[in-house]
């Protein structure tokens, strides 16, 4: 008897609540809450802080010299001109040469592409071997490699000059490519090792039972699964090598200088008038390559970094 009575009482309560028309659906939020103002305000300030120099550079590079002399750094150009960009690319002077950044650009391409390919090819195999084939001395080998990442470059600068001279590669692009590949090795190997270690071990075992060997597993099983980490490695290497100044200036000769060194020479040229617009344009052109790489592959980059970070 008591069962149905309780049931109907509950139904009554429910009916009451349903009839009252209380809150329903998403809770309304005020757009201008204190929290929103604080969060978006901070973001805005930080964004402006970082973008302001870039704005000044873009604006200045589009102005003519007379307009720059007026001194209004932040004002947009009255008369937009692309002449500084053209001059920076093809006719700005560095020392005796007056063929602009174009020479440095192609030098940088000829340095970056082989360095990136070579270092990633070797480091990925290194990482794969360290993660999956626990060979004798693997731990020691890995420890040495990691220590290598922490030795300051300055210490190794001169010994490498001697080594390159002895093997006849000093002052050549090949020598510089070699140096870049070697110096990319510790961090890239670590990156690949961690990524491959995060791939389930049973996959590797299954492939071995299926009869695949060292290279078979690497090519058929590991490579197709590791696009994200390859993207990360490519981005790291392209930006790192493209932005390198120290190795470029030490290990090459003037006509083989990479773009960064040439940019420095253009900007720091002491002869004649300082052409701020040309300098700004040259700087922007030099920075364009890493910038484009970031924009194109940003999403994959984040994914790859996150994937590699799971297991140490």
């Amino acid at each position: 008897m008591s069962g149905p009575a309780i049931l109907s009482a509950a139904a009554g309560v429910e009916a009451l609540a349903l009839g009252a028309g209380g809150p329903q659906g998403p809770k309304p939020r005020r757009a201008l809450s204190r929290r929103n103002v604080f969060v978006y305000g901070t973001l805005l300030v930080v964004a402006v802080y970082y973008l302001l120099p870039l704005y000044v550079m873009v604006v200045t590079s589009l102005k003519g010299m007379p307009e720059i002399r007026l001194g209004n750094v932040f004002s947009p150009p009255v008369e937009i001109t692309f002449e500084p960009w053209a001059r920076a690319w093809s006719s700005a002077c560095t020392g005796l040469n007056c063929d602009g950044l174009s020479r440095g650009f192609w030098n940088s391409v000829r340095i970056t592409v082989p360095s990136v390919v070579l270092s990633i090819a070797i480091a990925s195999v290194n990482g794969y071997a360290l993660a999956n084939w626990r060979f004798k001395g693997a731990e020691i080998f890995f420890a040495i490699l990691i220590v290598g990442a922490f030795i300051p470059y300055q210490v190794m600068l001169y010994p490498i000059v001697i080594i390159l001279r002895e093997i006849g590669l000093y002052g050549t692009l090949t020598g510089l490519v070699l140096v870049h590949s070697v110096f990319g090795m510790p961090i890239l190997t670590l990156l690949f090792r961690n990524y491959f270690a995060s791939i389930p071990e049973e996959l590797f075992k299954a492939a071995r039972v299926d009869g695949a060997g060292f290279w078979g597993i690497y090519v058929h099983i590991m490579l197709p699964m590791s696009l994200p980490i390859f993207v990360v490695a490519v981005i790291l290497q392209i930006t790192g090598i493209w932005n390198d100044f120290l190795f470029g200036v030490v290990y090459t000769k003037p006509d083989l200088y990479p773009m960064t060194v040439q940019l420095n020479n253009i900007v720091n040229a002491t002869m004649g008038v300082k052409e701020y617009n040309v300098n700004m344009a040259a700087t922007l052109i030099t920075g364009l390559v890493p910038l484009v790489v970031y924009f194109v592959s940003g999403k994959l980059f984040v994914r790859g970094i996150a994937a590699g970070a799971v297991k140490g």
Partner: protein, 366 residues
């Protein structure tokens, strides 16, 4: 042991020892698996069963001992040449390959002609009923389907020995019991030798021709499931198998004028029907008996009976477990639910030492 003399030995492990650092995982282990036999390696985690399986497969180098497959010493042989296929707990399907490519990977690595590969895949797909799935990627398969593909990968390679490493542990209970039956049917159809690692005693009891119960890197007992269940060689095996577990009464073995008796606080069980494994000696002992081998209010005719008050009743569906105190120790009896007493009731418990297992103070069967 007699059966083995008649049939050929398929897998044989001789004096295998292996340690990880200071931990001895396997201690000079010997195992002989007959041709076409289904052997289950059963034991708690950390007992070395997957390690043993990896050694047979060749995934681990063997520091000491030898492994034979089909009479061939394969201790130094490459994995692919051993004639083994392996099924893993996580399925380990190659995620970027379709089911078909997954199945054919090993064959492609071996450089087999295309039409032969196609023929074998068709056969495996037919046996495992995965024909509609061949073009799919592993991510688009359910757990049961993935496990079938994983078995298929071993199947297409036409191996002599199948190794299973806890293949059903990642599945839910219902699917697990379904696939268990499928694996059993598969074994009956293929008649390959199969070695199966699990910690699930139900899987072991239902699938195995023989079970090897392992503990601490040593095989405790290797025999048919019924023998292991009814005549465990030591207290560990007795306690590990069976759910609910075996009852153990702690007491003493005594020699009286009428023969050997087991005595504990207030009870004295005559052992005239017990089949001693060794010559008995007086001393501390444990009397083990499974809950379903105890009579409850089931009349006279028991070599020993006693009355006790029911403490707790646990209904388990088809059966009911009745807990009471015997000789001052917890004791359970399994009865059909219709015959279950209520808590507090006085009942009569009947024991027959014929179905019991006696263990000495270090746990070996008496």
């Amino acid at each position: 042991m007699n059966a083995m003399a008649q049939t050929a030995i398929s897998v044989s492990v001789r004096d295998l020892s292996l340690s990880f650092g200071a931990v001895k995982v396997l201690k000079s282990l010997n195992l002989d698996v007959a041709e076409g036999e289904f052997v289950v390696l059963l034991g708690p985690s950390g007992c070395g069963k997957p390690t043993l399986l990896n050694c047979i497969a060749g995934l681990l180098d063997i520091p000491e001992g030898r492994v034979f497959i089909k009479g061939r010493n394969v201790t130094w042989e490459e994995l692919a040449d051993r004639g083994i296929g392996m099924v893993f707990q996580s399925y380990a399907l190659y995620p970027q390959m379709s089911v078909e490519r997954n199945l054919s990977f090993g064959l492609r690595v071996a450089g087999m002609p295309k039409d032969e590969i196609a023929r074998r895949i068709a056969r495996a797909a037919e046996i495992l009923q995965i024909e509609p799935l061949l073009k799919r990627k592993p991510a688009a398969l359910s757990g049961g389907q993935r496990q079938r593909v994983a078995i298929g990968r071993a199947l297409v390679r036409d191996v002599d020995v199948f190794l299973f490493d806890e293949p059903l542990s990642n599945l839910d209970a219902k699917l697990r019991s379904e696939l268990r039956v499928e694996i059993k049917l598969l074994h009956r159809r293929l008649k390959n030798t199969m070695i199966y690692v699990t910690h699930d005693q139900i899987e072991a009891m239902t699938l195995a021709d023989r079970i090897a119960v392992m503990k601490g890197g040593v095989i405790q007992q290797f025999d048919a499931p019924q023998v292991i269940y009814n005549r465990p060689v030591n207290r560990f095996v007795a306690g590990f198998l069976g759910s609910p577990g075996m009852n153990f009464l702690e007491g003493r073995l005594e020699q009286a004028a009428t023969g050997w008796r087991f005595a504990a606080e207030g009870v004295s069980i005559p052992l005239s029907t017990y089949d001693f494994e060794t010559t008995p000696r007086p001393g501390p002992a444990a009397f083990g008996i499974r809950p379903e081998h105890v009579g409850l209010n089931s009349g006279a005719g028991w070599p020993f009976s006693a009355s006790a008050a029911v403490e707790v009743v646990e209904p388990m569906g088809s059966d009911t477990l009745v807990w009471l105190k015997l000789a001052g120790q917890n004791f359970s009896v399994r009865v059909t639910s219709e015959r279950a007493p209520r808590a507090g009731e006085m009942v009569t418990v009947g024991l027959d030492p014929l179905r019991a297992s006696l263990f000495d103070d270090v746990g070996n069967r008496l």
